[in-house]
C-alpha cells in the first residue's frame, strides 16, 4: 500500500508563504494609501490628517517590495509546517462559532461552558470513554464557574 501523501496545506514553502504575506501587507498599505488620499492635506504650515498615514503606507508598500526581492534572492528554502491541521482548524472553528453565537445571543455562560467542553473534548488525545466525558464536563464547569465568580461577581465585569 502506498504511503499517504500529507495534505499540501500543512507544509508550505517558506518562500511562497512569505510572498503571500508580503502581498497581503502590500495590499493593506495600498488600502491605507487610497483611503488617505481622500483626506485633506492641510493648508499652509498646517500638517493635515493624511500626512502621516500616507508616508507610512508608501513606506509599507516599498518595504513589501523590498521584502519580496530579498526573499527571492535567498538561496535556501524551508517549510512552514502545521503539524496538526485538524486541531488547529477545530480550535479556530470553535472560537469563531463561540464569538458569533455570543454576539447573536448574548448568552455568555452557557456558550462558554459549551465552547470549553468542546475544546477539551477535541484536544484531549485520550480515546472516547465515559470517564473522559465526565472529566471534560467537570473541568468545563469549574473553569467557567471560576471565571464567572472572579470577573462577574468579584470584579463587576458584566459577562
Amino acid at each position: 500500500m502506498a504511503a499517504r501523501r500529507p495534505l499540501e496545506l500543512d507544509k508550505m514553502s517558506y518562500k511562497l508563504a512569505s510572498y503571500v504575506s508580503l502581498l497581503f501587507f502590500f495590499a493593506i498599505g495600498l488600502a491605507f494609501f487610497l483611503a488617505a488620499s481622500a483626506m485633506p492635506d492641510g493648508d499652509g504650515y498646517d500638517v493635515g490628517p493624511a500626512f502621516f498615514p500616507r508616508i507610512m503606507s508608501i513606506l509599507m508598500m516599498a518595504t513589501a517590495v523590498i521584502g519580496m526581492v530579498t526573499t527571492w534572492r535567498k538561496s535556501q528554502d524551508s517549510h512552514v509546517e502545521i503539524s496538526k491541521p485538524f486541531q488547529l482548524l477545530a480550535t479556530i472553528g470553535v472560537a469563531v462559532a463561540f464569538v458569533a453565537l455570543w454576539t447573536l445571543t448574548g448568552q455568555f455562560l452557557p456558550l462558554s461552558f459549551l465552547a470549553v467542553a468542546v475544546l477539551l473534548h477535541l484536544l484531549n488525545p485520550q480515546p472516547m470513554s465515559r470517564g473522559k466525558l465526565i472529566k471534560t464536563l467537570t473541568i468545563s464547569a469549574i473553569v467557567v464557574a471560576v471565571f464567572y465568580v472572579v470577573f462577574d461577581l468579584l470584579l463587576g465585569l458584566r459577562l
Binding site: F52, T70, I82, F98, V116, N124, V143
Partner: protein, 501 residues
C-alpha cells in the same frame, strides 16, 4: 530625588498593595512554570484582572507577575531540560546537568538567588535613575520626543529581528493601525469605515490579546496535547550555601548590569540579555570548558540578566512613556486604562503613583524570593498538567480580556480573534510581534510630535537637527543603525564562508 525618599511608604505597605504584589508573584510563578506560557502571555492574559483595580495595584501586580514568571520559566529548564521561555535556554545548559546529577534544589537555588538579586539590582537602578532622567525628559520638546520614539522603533527593528524587511513591515503596520480613529488635531475620522466603534481607535488590549493569547492558543494546539511531565519532588528544596553564593556573586553582578542596560534599550528583552550575560560569563571564566556541563556561573549570569531586564525596561516607560518591551507595553496599557499617561509630567502630577511603582517593584522582588523559596516545589508539580487542559483557561481569559477592556465591546473580541489567527501564521514567517506592539503603542506619540514639530518650524525639517538633545538622539539612532548593518554584514560573511567550506 528628595521626593523619592520622602515618599509615604504606608501606600506600598498597605494590606492591598502587599496583597496584589504577592498575588502577582504567585500568578507569575504559576504562569512561568506552566508549559508553553511565557511572561508576555501571562501578563496579557491576566490584564483583565486589573480593569477594576487602582492603577498602583494594577502595575505592581503585573510587574511582580512579570518578574516571577521570568524566574519560574527556568523551573522547566532546570528540572526537565526543556526551557519554558527563550531566555531560559542558556539556563538549561548548566542548570539541567546539576539537576540530573541529583541536585535540582541547588540548581534552583542558584537560579532563584540570581533572579531575585538581578531584579533588585534593576529596581535600584530604576530607583536611582528615574528622577534624574525624568528631569532631563522635562526639557524635551516635540522634536526630541519624536526622535526618541523613532529610536525605540529603530532599536526594535535593528537589534532584535531575524528578517529586517519583515520587522520594518511589522513596525509600519503598527504605526498605520495606530492612525485608525479620530484625528486629535482636526477631529476628522480616519479609516473608521463610517462606524462609531472605530472612532476611539483600535483597542490595544484586543491587539495584545489577539497576538499573545489567541495566537498562543493556536500554537499550543499544535504541540503534544496530552503530555504530562512527570517530576520528582525529591531534592527540590531551593537552597544554596554561603560559600556557593560567594563563588557566583561576581557573575550575578555582571549579569545584572548587562540585563539592566539591555532592558533600557527598547526591543531587546530578556532573551538577548540572558545570552549576552551567559557568553560574557563564559568568556571571562577561568574554566570556560566547564560551561554546559553544570557550571553554576552558567545559571546565575543569564538568570540575573533576564530579571534585571524588567527593571531596565520599566525605566523608559516611567520617564518617557516609551515601553522597553512588549510585556512592558501591556503594563503601559494597565496605566492607560486608568487614564494615566506615563512620562515626565506624571512625576509632577502623580508622584505617589510613580514612586509607589518604583518602591513596590523593589518589594516585589524581595517577595518573589521569599515566596518562590517555599513554593518552587509546588510550582514544579504544575508540569504534570497536560496542555489540552490549559488551553480552555487561556481561551476564556483571552475572551474576557478583549471583551472587558472597553466595557463589553464585541467588535474587540472579534478583532482579537482575527488578529490571533493572522498572528499565528505570520509568526511562523519571522514577522516581529514586539515591533508591531511597540509601534502601535508609540504611533500616536510619534505622529503628534512630528506634526507639532513641523507646525512649530513652519514645515521645515531643520527643527530635528538643530537642537542639542535632538542631535544626541540622532547620534544614537545612527549608532543603532550602524551596529545593525555591521551585524548583518558579519552574519552574511559568516554564511558565505560556511557555504564556501
Amino acid at each position: 530625588m528628595q521626593a523619592l525618599f520622602s515618599f509615604d511608604f504606608s501606600i506600598i505597605f498597605s494590606f492591598q498593595s502587599i496583597f496584589f504584589i504577592c498575588l502577582g508573584v504567585v500568578l507569575g510563578l504559576l504562569v512561568g512554570a506552566l508549559p508553553g506560557l511565557s511572561a508576555s502571555v501571562g501578563v496579557a492574559v491576566l490584564l483583565p484582572l486589573t480593569f477594576t483595580m487602582e492603577p498602583l495595584h494594577a502595575v505592581l501586580m503585573l510587574a511582580a507577575l512579570y518578574a516571577a514568571a521570568e524566574y519560574s520559566g527556568s523551573i522547566t529548564a532546570i528540572i526537565l531540560g526543556i526551557p519554558g521561555t527563550a531566555s531560559a535556554v542558556p539556563i538549561a545548559l548548566d542548570g539541567h546537568p546539576i539537576a540530573k546529577a541529583g541536585h535540582p534544589g541547588r540548581a534552583l537555588g542558584y537560579s532563584l538567588t540570581a533572579a531575585a538579586l538581578g531584579g533588585i539590582f534593576g529596581a535600584l537602578v530604576l530607583l536611582l535613575l528615574t528622577v534624574p532622567l525624568a528631569r532631563i525628559a522635562l526639557r524635551f520638546s516635540d522634536p526630541e520626543i519624536f526622535l526618541l520614539a523613532l529610536l525605540g522603533l529603530v532599536s526594535v527593528v535593528g537589534l532584535g529581528s531575524k528578517d529586517i524587511p519583515k520587522s520594518i513591515i511589522s513596525v509600519l503596520l503598527g504605526l498605520l493601525l495606530a492612525t485608525v480613529g479620530m484625528d486629535v488635531f482636526t477631529g476628522m475620522p480616519r479609516f473608521t469605515m463610517g462606524t462609531f466603534t472605530l472612532m476611539e481607535g483600535l483597542s490595544l488590549v484586543a491587539l495584545i490579546t489577539g497576538l499573545f493569547a489567541f495566537s498562543e492558543i493556536f500554537n499550543m494546539s499544535q504541540g503534544d496535547l496530552g503530555k504530562r511531565h512527570v517530576t520528582d519532588a525529591k531534592n527540590l528544596r531551593v537552597h544554596i550555601t554561603w560559600a556557593e553564593f560567594k563563588g557566583v556573586f561576581k557573575n550575578i553582578v555582571r549579569g545584572s548590569v548587562i540585563g539592566t542596560i539591555i532592558g533600557i534599550i527598547p526591543g531587546l528583552g530578556p532573551t538577548v540579555g540572558s545570552w549576552i550575560a551567559y557568553t560574557e560569563a563564559k568568556r571571562t571564566s577561568k574554566n570556560p570548558e566547564k560551561f554546559g556541563t553544570g557550571e553554576p556561573n552558567g545559571i546565575v549570569a543569564p538568570e540575573s540578566a533576564s530579571n534585571a531586564v524588567v527593571g531596565g525596561a520599566l525605566l523608559p516607560l516611567l520617564t518617557l512613556g516609551i515601553p522597553g518591551s512588549a510585556t512592558v507595553a501591556v503594563i503601559l496599557v494597565a496605566l492607560l486604562i486608568h487614564g494615566v499617561q506615563p512620562g515626565p509630567r506624571v512625576f509632577i502630577e502623580q508622584p505617589d503613583l510613580i514612586y509607589g511603582i518604583i518602591w513596590g517593584y523593589l518589594l516585589a522582588n524581595i517577595a518573589m524570593y521569599v515566596i518562590a523559596r517555599f513554593t518552587t516545589a509546588q510550582s514544579a508539580r504544575l508540569l504534570t498538567i497536560p496542555t489540552y487542559a490549559l488551553l480552555p483557561v487561556v481561551f476564556m481569559a483571552a475572551l474576557i480580556g478583549s471583551y472587558g477592556a472597553r466595557s463589553g465591546n464585541m467588535f474587540d473580541v472579534a478583532m482579537a480573534l482575527a488578529i490571533g489567527c493572522v498572528g499565528y501564521f505570520v509568526r511562523k514567517l519571522d514577522y516581529s510581534f514586539p515591533a508591531f506592539i511597540l509601534a502601535f503603542v508609540l504611533g500616536s506619540l510619534l505622529e503628534s510630535s512630528l506634526r507639532r514639530s513641523l507646525m512649530i518650524s513652519q514645515g521645515s525639517f531643520d527643527i530635528f537637527f538643530t537642537r542639542t538633545y535632538s542631535q544626541i538622539v540622532i547620534g544614537l539612532i545612527v549608532l543603532v543603525i550602524a551596529s545593525s548593518v555591521y551585524s548583518q554584514w558579519k552574519k552574511s560573511r559568516a554564511a558565505k564562508a560556511g557555504g564556501a567550506e
